[in-house]
Symmetry: D2
Subunit: 296 residues, 4 copies
Amino acid sequence: MKIAFIGLGNMGGPMARLVLQAGFDVIVYNRTAAKAEPLRELGAKVAVTPGEAAARADIMVTMLADEAALRDILDGRDGAVAHLPRGALHIGMSTVSVAFSAQLAKRHADLDQAYLAAPVFGRPDAAAAKKLWVLAAGRADDIKRARPVLESMGQGVLEVGDDPAQANTMKLAGNYMIAGMLQSLGESFALVRKAGMPAAQFFDIVNKVFKSPVYENYGGQIAAERFSPPGFKMRLGLKDMRLVLAAADASETPMPLASLLHDRMLSAAARGMGDLDWSALGRLAAQDAGLSLEKT
Amino acid sequence: MKIAFIGLGNMGGPMARLVLQAGFDVIVYNRTAAKAEPLRELGAKVAVTPGEAAARADIMVTMLADEAALRDILDGRDGAVAHLPRGALHIGMSTVSVAFSAQLAKRHADLDQAYLAAPVFGRPDAAAAKKLWVLAAGRADDIKRARPVLESMGQGVLEVGDDPAQANTMKLAGNYMIAGMLQSLGESFALVRKAGMPAAQFFDIVNKVFKSPVYENYGGQIAAERFSPPGFKMRLGLKDMRLVLAAADASETPMPLASLLHDRMLSAAARGMGDLDWSALGRLAAQDAGLSLEKT
Amino acid sequence: MKIAFIGLGNMGGPMARLVLQAGFDVIVYNRTAAKAEPLRELGAKVAVTPGEAAARADIMVTMLADEAALRDILDGRDGAVAHLPRGALHIGMSTVSVAFSAQLAKRHADLDQAYLAAPVFGRPDAAAAKKLWVLAAGRADDIKRARPVLESMGQGVLEVGDDPAQANTMKLAGNYMIAGMLQSLGESFALVRKAGMPAAQFFDIVNKVFKSPVYENYGGQIAAERFSPPGFKMRLGLKDMRLVLAAADASETPMPLASLLHDRMLSAAARGMGDLDWSALGRLAAQDAGLSLEKT
Amino acid sequence: MKIAFIGLGNMGGPMARLVLQAGFDVIVYNRTAAKAEPLRELGAKVAVTPGEAAARADIMVTMLADEAALRDILDGRDGAVAHLPRGALHIGMSTVSVAFSAQLAKRHADLDQAYLAAPVFGRPDAAAAKKLWVLAAGRADDIKRARPVLESMGQGVLEVGDDPAQANTMKLAGNYMIAGMLQSLGESFALVRKAGMPAAQFFDIVNKVFKSPVYENYGGQIAAERFSPPGFKMRLGLKDMRLVLAAADASETPMPLASLLHDRMLSAAARGMGDLDWSALGRLAAQDAGLSLEKT
């Protein structure tokens, strides 16, 4: 089975490597060509255009940072959609809007191509360690076909419906929940610090009581005020909150916490934290409480 | 060692039983006397006034639903403070304000009595199963003296400082974080349901990705719309958000998420959900999204 | 001077009449043709397509309910843009997004057509009474050319810059401020009513102290719980909050109050108030406070 | 008629002068004695303690910065309450909590003294110019008795009920509305400035469309970034938002906008703006948008 893997960034790079290591015949494409070289050394073919990668694929995987980057890959004269064979399957793993995923589903259907949305939970280190969780939504036989590839990239595949856009809704809802955890960590730590206690002491309680790896990872970063290099940039988090709110708006679902998170991230971006890790919401909470930036 | 245990409600009842079963010599008091009977059968003495319970105690434990109830026990002619012997230790386990705990510390010190704040995390079923987490703050030798009693009531004792009020700050911060988890579950479930998917499907993802027993317990309740009987009443959650905001106000720590949670709980109370479990924040989110109350 | 006037709804209808009564040679177009009849009786010509109206105009005025309706008029084979003569001026008076207005400016420039954005403040009754305020942004000589037409429609023309999109930003900011006034009236009235006082008594104070016709008009509606027929629908207010937040997002300006207003209007729409006047934010505040809907 | 006037600060000073100039027989008291000297020169007697001032009064007016300052005056051995004659009337003009005003009403009733709550709208310059609005609540005959004194201090007296606490609710609701106006001005100005326009241009529209002296005064300050000397300190505004939320909490009235305003003011205080005028909410909005502090 021939796999085209497009998008070799922080996430896509390690994911493509896992697919390759699982024994698939892989051709890769990345806008910045240098990022393809490590994969070439591991045995991947390297395409010069998205269209070239797509042209002979049974399955095409795309993993780009945002919708605009994905559009660049898919559209145009040497775009992936135009060259993807009839009957081939596009697995879209990027975090994109619900509306865009729905449009893409229709577009592929019109061209007799198959399409699954399969966004993932996990950061670059989880991707490298094959610890991602993969959500998959689409036609049952397409999910069946995709399974070996998806399983090669993570610790589990969660099937979430037969409409691809459903996976995107759930991915966005999940990111929104993580952002909520960041905000609550940030505010708590600020409260505790202003009461004269080290954030780390409260963090210890959080780990004991809530037992979630998400609190553990991010709480550690906030307590240590370590926001760079970013695992996931504030600006990308802001983009996701925008997509959550767009989905909420379209379905008439008020989400005041999502609005709050959007405001906070927008403020973080405006105040120069757009390229820090999104856990810098904790720094923002500390700054708003008048705390200096020194570690506690 | 003689232990006075005052407050035998949903939480205090099972906690007192554990202390008794650990072999301590226990005298109990509860305003509604009937609740003391099961403990009498297990071997506890039963006092007629708080003062009687306190009068011969080495350690007095108090576990009341709120500050007003605690004041009733402590103050007045037959109140516990006046009768507690010099040198005896009061372990305050109720969730009360930071300011009140600080005042109480001073008051006991003036009377040559010792005082620890030791609020707990966990609901009535966790109390019954000895699964509570106990935070303890106060003088090191008081914590040492209290340890056997505290350990008899939970799965672990976390020491969080030498100023009792610090334990109260941390307890409140923890409850605020749980409330944030409830709100984000509620909004997510509403979003997912309005997109035509069952909440249970997203809940499954939450459990896989976040792996927290807190999400698991409350998410199950919200997905099943099971808010009664309450494990922890919305009205008590509202009280706690008020105490969090009072602490935030006093220390000049803006906590916009805590404010949001307070508003939501106040709205829930005003709309008739004050006596439901506080996870009914999920019902409120569904109602605000125009969702009917039927299960999904 | 030949004027094409497109869009004869609640606002456009009375505005077109004023232009006609000022002595201009007017041709009108409306999708629902019946609405053009009263203007035909007053002497206007009636076009069958937007293109027909635009084809011989010196100045084309558009006043549609939203961006989608405006796009329908402008685009396509019989669309207004394709038929508007070179050198002719399009005065866009609809409330549209900042981004759309900027695109439209570019599009007209590419076709050697002129474009002004001239959104208005005021509701249908103000339009009928020639009490609108008109914001105008664009090239100085275009504003000069447009002035007699704009002045025929309102009590004053406020020039706000040479970039058309600036007028749209200011119009949206103004609507956001009105929405903020509605929300604060709603919350205040709920507070006062729950304290046992009639909303009308507080409303009297508002009028004395704040002296604004905006408070006076809307406060009267909220106090009387009179939300239908709508002067400006909740759903249109919601659309405007969406456009404000889009502008805020694009320029990295956190606007937490705008987010709150968006959430409230979304909740109002989801709870069945989308077609009421947007002052029904006051009803929403009352409902959230558990107040019955009876008048006070 | 003998008038005791207690509290001669920014507001009380000019108010006492007006009472004196209206021909009443006035005895004043102020903690910082120097502030009484200008009034002595105008003919007032000066008391050394609150009790001395109260002792021979027919009517006692109190105008203090906050509840704590008022308690200092009223309570204790030389306090005003203990010395106020039976039958004499206390007019409380300070902005205090609804709960405190209710307690005070009861306390005076128990001592056969009369009590009116009569808080005012207006800042020090309005006080000096006799432009205050006075709210008055209490027994009808007490209001009648107080009227000549109240009228000497402002442009009008608004009777708002027979329960003194009602005037306090309305005063707080009014201050909340002003704060909402400040926040919306701040956010709008930030949006407009980030879109490349001067705030002053939008401010001009606000004045034309909304026509409120409140927008005009505060908008001018924000546009000019003139927050010092303060007419009304941020810290006092924060106190008032706290009192609004306490009233909202007690009556189960969710006020999300009041919560937002409280958060913003708390953030302003934590970031060093507590002693600026409360219109510095506009500075906070600009800072959060990443705008430098230079004037526009």
